[in-house]
């Protein structure tokens, strides 16, 4: 077990290192932050001085290794734009992202699970058609369009919910729904096919031959097994929500990490890009570690292999 965890952690570390390295080199290709930081009309000498003070005048490999070393100590450097440690800037935005991602995930998984189950248990009936059409609609709707529509309806027309910001729980509702629609659509589709597959398994027939009650069969024999692929999917979605809900954050003015990183890219604020991506990657990797462990709970075969 310890060996297993150590192996997983090493793999995780390699993945994070890969992410950080890719981001480091790709972001340096973006160009020169100095021209964005200084006001119009700044002279070459002023630009030069700023570059030097940001440490951008060094050869790229020197920059890479020194920043890699610093990163190992948890130091991502001072944000060019925010003038304070990049990690602070990122961590400050983390709660908002986490809350949104978590509620969207919970909401999406709940809706998706119910919808997927209804569809699978009503194969070929109207209910399946309705649920699956809704899921398709959910997957085919661009997030920004959905977000704007929700604002126009619930905030402007009805005046029920705030249109932007993150102050209260009310603020959370629209962005969470926006994201949850996509999540639930994916989960519903995956769960449906997973359930259908499990429903055809021999051991479900065994369970029925034992005369078990339908709810027992569904809970212990069908759902338990059908959840395994869904859990993997949840891991991937969690990662996407953590770093990738940029569009939703933009539409709702939600102060999340995704938009922070996008802005950092637009402003070539390397330390923030680096810290943001690293934090998201670390969280993602840990979520997936947790999911690996959850796997063990769900599927004793995996536990047995350790």
């Amino acid at each position: 077990m310890i060996r297993f965890m150590a192996g997983k952690l090493l793999e995780a570390a390699i993945a994070i290192w890969g992410v950080v390295t890719i981001v480091f080199f790709v972001s340096r290709v973006l160009g020169d932050p100095a021209v964005l930081l200084l006001p119009l009309g700044a002279t070459d000498a002023q630009l030069e001085a700023l570059r030097a003070s940001l440490g951008l005048d060094q050869p790229i490999l020197v920059q890479y290794f020194s920043s890699l070393g610093a990163m190992l100590r948890g130091d991502f450097g001072i944000s060019f734009q925010h003038m304070r440690p990049a990690l602070d800037v990122v961590l400050e935005r983390m709660p908002a992202t986490a809350i949104l991602a978590f509620s969207a995930l919970v909401l999406g998984v709940l809706i998706g699970a119910v919808a997927g189950t209804i569809a699978a248990l009503n194969r070929g009936k109207l209910a399946e058609l309705i649920v699956m059409s809704a899921a398709l609609l959910g997957q085919a709707t661009p997030v920004f369009w959905l977000g704007l529509m929700l604002i126009l309806f619930f905030s402007v027309q009805l005046g029920w919910l705030p249109s932007a910001g993150s102050g209260t729980w009310w603020h959370l509702i629209l962005p969470a729904i926006t994201l949850a629609v996509f999540v639930s659509a994916s989960i519903a589709r995956l769960l449906r096919s997973s359930l259908l597959e499990i429903l055809g398994e021999d051991y479900v027939r065994t369970a029925r031959a034992k005369g078990l009650l339908p709810q027992t069969i569904f809970t212990w024999h069908v759902a338990r097994n059908a959840l395994i692929p869904v859990v993997t999917m949840i891991g991937i979605i969690a990662g996407e929500l953590l770093g990738g809900s940029v569009v939703t954050e933009t539409v709702f003015g939600w102060p999340g990490v995704g938009r922070l990183i996008v802005q950092a890219i637009q402003n070539q604020d390397f330390p923030v890009i680096q810290a943001g991506v690293a934090v998201v990657a670390i969280i993602f990797v840990f979520i997936n570690l947790a999911i690996d462990l959850l796997y063990g709970v769900l599927d004793p075969r995996i536990r047995g292999e350790r």
């Binding site: 973006l30 085919a140 369009w145 704007l148 096919s193 990183i261």
Partner: protein, 285 residues
């Protein structure tokens, strides 16, 4: 082939998807011959005109209205289908080929190859999709090719993961063993025995990916990374038109509906394909 079409006709939703998609592709191919207004040149004075219909069967000059620089929305949707479908298809094929081949290699060789590739998948997954897209487009510059590269880049892992899983069980199958036994080369085994047997799952992934990529194009355009103006693509139209969502609903609504229809048809076709190839659903023995 006869069986294919017979079964397609029997599955009403599959047929619907197939017909719709065929129609879309035909429209895309013959777009320039349809005698529509220019999708590029607009009439500034006719900017943001609403759809005009003088009667139920009597469309005016702009049946779906005009956009923010006075171009015919219908024409842009029709011409946009070329770019959109081309981007989606190319990205799907590119991502599919790369992902499938790497998935096969990972599953077949196992060991170090597998580990390296799966770490790559992890890295790719840990790197938020939009940011990756943003970085690549920002670094390489926006162009049709780069857009496709970005989309393919976000897509290959899905194939690789699924295919790898399939190959892991395939390589233990006895016909693969038997190929080893006759002394077939590794390349031959991968191409002749493994590849044909993973094409079905790859195809199913591809249908899902096609839909996802069309939506991705819209999201990328939202961040200004999509197709270059003035070329039309559905995603681009949607993103550019969003500013006018409440003053000129038709600019976003029609491309949106078109995307929906396309995604719908591809998914229906995909669902049917999955069923069609599912051995459990086939007449066995």
């Amino acid at each position: 082939m006869g069986d294919f079409f017979a079964s397609l006709v029997k599955s009403r939703s599959g047929l619907f998807g197939f017909v719709l998609l065929t129609l879309l592709v035909l429209v895309a191919i013959f777009a320039p011959l349809l005698g529509l207004a220019s999708p590029i040149r607009g009439d500034l004075l006719a900017r943001l005109s609403p759809p005009t219909w003088t009667g139920p069967f009597n469309p005016g000059p702009h049946p779906l209205g005009t956009d923010e620089v006075g171009r015919d929305v219908l024409s842009r949707i029709v011409h946009g289908s070329r770019l959109t479908l081309m981007i989606a298809a190319t990205a799907v094929v590119l991502g599919g080929v790369v992902g499938t081949l790497l998935g096969i290699a990972a599953g077949f060789y196992g060991g170090i190859v597998d580990r390296v590739l799966m770490r790559l998948v992890d890295i790719q997954l840990a790197l938020p999709l939009m940011l990756l897209a943003l970085l690549v487009v920002a670094a390489l510059g926006p162009s049709f090719n780069n857009l496709i590269i970005v989309l393919a880049l976000t897509s290959w892992i899905r194939y690789a993961r699924i295919i790898r899983g399939q190959v892991l069980s395939l390589r233990e199958r006895e016909f693969v063993q038997s190929a080893h036994a006759i002394g077939a080369s590794t390349v031959r085994i991968m191409l002749r025995h493994i590849l044909p047997n993973v094409l079905t799952p790859a195809l199913v992934v591809a249908t899902l990916e096609l839909a996802r990529i069309i939506i991705m194009d819209a999201a990328l355009s939202f961040l200004g990374l999509g197709v270059q103006p003035p070329s039309p693509s559905w995603g681009r139209m949607l993103a550019d038109g969003r500013v006018y969502i409440s003053t000129a609903w038709w600019i976003v609504t029609f491309p949106g509906l078109t995307i929906l229809l396309t995604v719908l048809s591809v998914n229906l076709l995909g669902d049917w394909l999955r069923d069609y190839f599912d051995p459990k659903l086939r007449t066995s023995r």
